[in-house]
Subunit: 122 residues, 2 copies
DNA sequence: AGATGAACATTGTGTTCATTA
DNA sequence: TAATGAACACAATGTTCATCT
């Protein structure tokens, strides 16, 4: 993997949610974005368009996801894609590695809490 | 504060530990670095020289810390600084804001764990 | 106008070089 | 050589612009 890592990258974090959406297979890019912006609002996190698209593109390129264009009723435009899971085994393995990074990151941050904010005794 | 933030920045994380060391007031820059590299080894995190120095410099500049040159016995060189707490009240307030960011970050990562790795029921 | 995508700009961070004693 | 510090390079991310229907 990459060099010495601090905590998990935003990109990896988002990819997890992209996969999540792909498993449902209902929403297209911008909808996913808006959903997430709303969902994380309470935690002061607002993902950007480019991060969501880049996450999706990388997942496509690496074969984790596939997509298909959808015809929107009422119009003839079709620049709109629904994402689905590609290689299920591959996705599972990928999620495992991200989980490890998430666990590690949480441990790191919790350690900082403990070291710097808990009452010292003795 | 800054725009939409994902999780806490490495710099802020390190500053917490710099303050921690300054409270003890025993170690100089490189020692702190090596201590932290060792301390976080188990979590795959290896802070770099530049991040540690930049953290210390910013804390100095902003008045959170002070420092004094130390004469190392046996030699006449004194390019070596021990850091101490500057404005205690200011430091306390600063630590409070970092704690909020740590808490927020942990909540964010935990939410990802829950959303993507817990068994679905119903 | 709505959606996707690329280009560009900035920031965060790591690596290398410089200085001092 | 040990320590500090600055310069430089690169990677991660945010903002703006382009395209297509």
């Amino acid at each position: 993997m990459g060099r010495s890592t601090f905590v998990i990258k935003q990109r990896a974090f988002l990819k997890l949610y992209m996969i999540h959406e792909a498993e449902k297979g209902r929403l297209y890019g911008l909808q996913i974005l808006e959903n997430l912006q709303d969902y994380f609002k309470d935690l002061g996190y607002r993902p950007t368009k480019s991060e969501v698209y880049k996450s999706l593109h990388e997942l496509l390129k690496d074969g984790y996801l596939t997509r298909e264009p959808i015809i929107k009723e009422g119009t003839e435009m079709q620049t709109l894609y629904i994402y689905r899971i590609g290689d299920k085994e591959k996705v599972k393995a990928y999620k495992d590695t991200i989980k490890a990074d998430l666990d590690r990151s949480i441990a790191l941050l919790k350690r900082a809490l403990k070291d710097n904010y808990s009452q010292k005794r003795g």
